[in-house]
C-alpha cells in the first residue's frame, strides 16, 4: 500500500477555494438559464392566451355563439360548428370508449402473454405515433369513399375514433391493472365467473381511470383538424347539422378556414380568435373534469 505523500498542489486549499467559487458561479448562472428556459413555456402560453383573448374581445358574444356561419364577419356565428363538434363527439365517445375499453379488457384480463398480445400492444403504441393526417387519408379512403359516407359526421367521427383509440386503450389498461388482485379474488371466491367479476368488480373500480383517459381522448379529438381537412369538409356550410349523416363543420375547421382567409377579410382573425377561445374553454373544462375525477376517486385501498 502506498502512502499518499505525493501532495497534489493543484488540489491545495487555496487553489480549490478559487475554483469552487468559479464553479458555484457557473452553477448559479446555469440555474438561472434553466429556470428561464422552463419559464419560456409559461411565457409562450401567456403570450398565446393574451393575444388570442384580446383578439376575441368584442367578437365573442351570445350572437356569435348562437348564429349560423356567414361570409360577413358581423353576422357570423359558430353555432353550426359547435353543434358539429358536439355531434362528432357523440360518435367518437361511444365508439372509442367501447373499442378502447374492450381492447384493454382483452389485453389485461383475457389474453395470455404471447405473441398476439405483444403484437397488439406494439401495434397500439405505434398507432399512437401515426400522424393524424394519415388517419385523414384512411378516413377519406375507407369511410369517405369505400363506405360512401362522404364528409359526413359519421365519417369524421369514425376517423377520429381510430385516431384517439390508443389513448383510451392505454389509460384503461393502466386503470384495470391498478385494480388490486384481492378484489378479484374476493369475487372469484364467491363463485363469480370471469365476466361477472370484470363487470361488477373490476370495471367499477377502474371506472375513474377509464373516464379520465376517455375525456383526454375526447379533448384530443375535439381539437384535431388535419383528418377533417383531408376528409374534405366544404369551405362554406351554413346549415346546422341535424344528424350524423349530414355534412358538417367543426370548431377547428372553422378556425382553419378563417385563418386562411384572414388576409381577405381582416376580421376573420377576430372570428378565429373568438372560436379558439371557445375551443380552449371547452378543452379546459374537459381537462378540469378529468382532473376532478382523478382526484376525487383516488384509490382508497
Amino acid at each position: 500500500m502506498e502512502c499518499k505523500i505525493t501532495k497534489n498542489n493543484e488540489l491545495n486549499v487555496e487553489n480549490l477555494k478559487k475554483k469552487i467559487k468559479k464553479r458555484i458561479m457557473i452553477d448559479k448562472s446555469a440555474k438561472l438559464v434553466f429556470l428561464l428556459s422552463a419559464l419560456f413555456a409559461l411565457l409562450v402560453l401567456g403570450i398565446l392566451i393574451y393575444r388570442i383573448f384580446t383578439q376575441s374581445i368584442g367578437w365573442l358574444d351570445i350572437q356569435f355563439l348562437t348564429s349560423k356561419l356567414s361570409i360577413f364577419p358581423e353576422k357570423a356565428g359558430i353555432f353550426g360548428a359547435i353543434v358539429g363538434s358536439f355531434l362528432l363527439m357523440v360518435i367518437v365517445a361511444p365508439v372509442t370508449i367501447i373499442l378502447g375499453v374492450s381492447t384493454a379488457i382483452y389485453l389485461e384480463e383475457y389474453s395470455s402473454k404471447g405473441r398476439l398480445q405483444t403484437l397488439i400492444k406494439t401495434n397500439i403504441s405505434n398507432l399512437a405515433g401515426v400522424p393524424s393526417v394519415i388517419f385523414g387519408l384512411l378516413g377519406l379512403t375507407v369511410f369517405g369513399r369505400l363506405l360512401n359516407l362522404g364528409s359526413s359526421i359519421l365519417a369524421g367521427g369514425l376517423t377520429m375514433s381510430l385516431l384517439v383509440l390508443p389513448i383510451v386503450v392505454v389509460a384503461s389498461q393502466e386503470a384495470i391493472r391498478a385494480v388490486p388482485g384481492f378484489l378479484r379474488d374476493a369475487s372469484y371466491a364467491m363463485g363469480a365467473s370471469k365476466w361477472t367479476t370484470i363487470s361488477r368488480v373490476v370495471l367499477p373500480v377502474a371506472l375513474p381511470g377509464i373516464l379520465t383517459g376517455s375525456i383526454l381522448a375526447l379533448s384530443r379529438a375535439i381539437g384535431e383538424t388535419a383528418p377533417l381537412v383531408v376528409l374534405g369538409i366544404p369551405t362554406l356550410i351554413l346549415k346546422i347539422p341535424q344528424n350524423i349523416m349530414d355534412d358538417f363543420t367543426a370548431l377547428p375547421i372553422q378556425i382553419y378556414y378563417w385563418t386562411l382567409d384572414t388576409v381577405l377579410t381582416a376580421e376573420y382573425a377576430n372570428l378565429a380568435a373568438a372560436t379558439i377561445v371557445v375551443l380552449l374553454l371547452m378543452l379546459f373544462t374537459l381537462n378540469s373534469i378529468a382532473i376532478i375525477i382523478r382526484n376525487k376517486f383516488q384509490r382508497r385501498y
Binding site: R23, I24, D27, A30, K31, V33, F34, L35, S37, A38, L39, A41, L42, V44, L45, I47, L48, R51, I52, L99, S102, T103, I105, Y110, S111, L119, I120, N123, I124, S125, N126, G129, V130, P131, V133, I134, F135, L137, L138, L140, T141, V142, L165, S193, K194, G223, T225, A226, V229, V230, L231, G232, P252, I255, Y256, L260, A272, I276, L279, N287
Partner: protein, 305 residues
C-alpha cells in the same frame, strides 16, 4: 337461517347458461383486433394506391427536385417535400431540444417540489393546445414578428412554423426527458454530491449520461411528432414546391402536400391523386421508424438499472 337461498342459487346456477362468459371474450378479442385492422387498413390504403404511383412514375423522377403535380406535364420529384419536412423539423428540434432539455434539467435537478408542482401543469396545458391554435399563432403572431426582425423573410416561410412546432414539442421533450432523469437512482447523485459537485455538475456529468438513452428517445419521438405535424406548416409555410435550404423561403412539407392536394383535387384516379398516397406512405414509414427507434432506445435504458 333462511334456508332457501342456497336452493335458489343452485337452481339459478343450473339454468343460467354461461352464454355471456363465452360471448364476451369474443367481443373483446374482436375489439382488440380493430386496432390491428386499423393498422392493416392504413398500410393497405397507402400501399395500394402508392404502388400505382410508383408504377406510373420512373424512380429517377421521384427522386428529383422537380415537383409540379398538377402541371400539364406533371413532375413528381419528392425531394422538395422531404427537404421541406426535414427543414421545418430541424428548426423545431433546434427550439425544442435546448429548451425542452434544460427545462427538464431544471425541473428534475434544480426546482423545489413547490416550483415543480406549479410548472408541470403549465407544460401539460401547453401540450394540450390543439395544433390548429398553434397554426393561428404562427400565422398571426410569430410570422409578423419575425418579418419585422428578419428582412427578406417571406410571408410564408419555413422558419416560423418550425419555431412554433418546436414550441409545441417542448412539453413532450421536457416530460419524457424528465422521466428518464427521474429514473436515475439517487445513489448516483449522492455519490457525486459527496465529492463536492455542484448541481450543474451532477446534472451534466452524472444524471444526463445515465439517462442519455431515455433523453435521446424523447428527441426521436419529438422528431417523429414534428415530421407528422400538419396544421402549423399548412397554415404558415406557404406550400411552395421549390427545393431550397433557405429557411426564409416558403416550402412545403409532406403533410402539407397531403392537405393541399385533398382540399383541391382529390377526386379521381390521376397520377397526382396516387402521389397523395405515395407521400402518405413515405410519411408513415418515416414516423413508424422513428417510433420504433424511440421504443428500442428507451427499452434499452430501462434495462440498465
Amino acid at each position: 337461517m333462511n334456508n332457501n337461498v342456497r336452493e335458489i342459487i343452485l337452481k339459478n346456477n343450473k339454468k343460467q347458461k354461461k352464454s355471456l362468459d363465452n360471448v364476451m371474450p369474443v367481443i373483446f378479442f374482436t375489439a382488440a383486433l380493430i386496432s390491428i385492422i386499423t393498422t392493416i387498413g392504413i398500410v393497405l390504403t397507402l400501399v395500394f394506391d402508392a404502388l400505382k404511383f410508383f408504377r406510373a412514375v420512373p424512380f429517377a423522377d421521384i427522386f428529383s427536385t422537380q415537383l409540379a403535380p398538377l402541371a400539364a406535364n406533371p413532375r413528381f420529384g419528392i425531394l422538395p417535400l422531404i427537404n421541406g419536412t426535414i427543414l421545418t423539423s430541424l428548426i423545431a428540434m433546434m427550439v425544442a431540444i435546448p429548451v425542452g432539455l434544460t427545462s427538464a434539467i431544471y425541473l428534475s435537478e434544480f426546482a423545489t417540489e413547490k416550483i415543480r408542482k406549479r410548472l408541470k401543469p403549465i407544460m401539460e396545458l401547453l401540450a394540450g393546445i390543439p395544433t390548429i391554435v398553434y397554426g393561428f399563432f404562427a400565422y398571426s403572431f410569430v410570422t409578423p414578428l419575425l418579418m419585422a426582425v428578419i428582412p427578406g423573410l417571406e410571408a410564408k416561410n419555413a422558419l416560423s412554423p418550425g419555431i412554433v412546432m418546436g414550441i409545441m414539442i417542448i412539453p413532450l421533450v421536457t416530460s419524457l426527458s424528465e422521466d428518464a432523469m427521474n429514473s436515475v437512482p439517487n445513489a448516483l447523485r449522492e455519490g457525486a454530491y459527496a465529492l463536492g459537485s455542484t448541481r450543474l455538475e451532477v446534472a451534466v456529468k452524472v444524471v444526463i449520461p445515465a439517462a442519455i438513452s431515455g433523453i435521446i428517445a424523447s428527441f426521436v419521438l419529438a422528431i417523429s411528432r414534428a415530421i407528422g405535424e400538419t396544421m402549423i406548416v399548412t397554415i404558415a409555410s406557404g406550400s411552395s414546391k421549390n427545393f431550397t435550404f433557405d429557411i426564409t423561403k416558403s416550402i412545403q412539407t409532406m403533410t402539407a402536400y397531403i392537405v393541399e392536394f385533398t382540399s383541391g383535387d382529390a377526386g379521381s384516379g390521376t397520377v397526382g391523386y396516387y402521389s397523395l398516397y405515395a407521400v402518405g406512405l413515405i410519411l408513415f414509414v418515416f414516423t413508424l421508424l422513428m417510433n420504433l427507434l424511440a421504443q428500442y432506445i428507451s427499452r434499452k435504458y430501462r434495462e440498465e438499472y
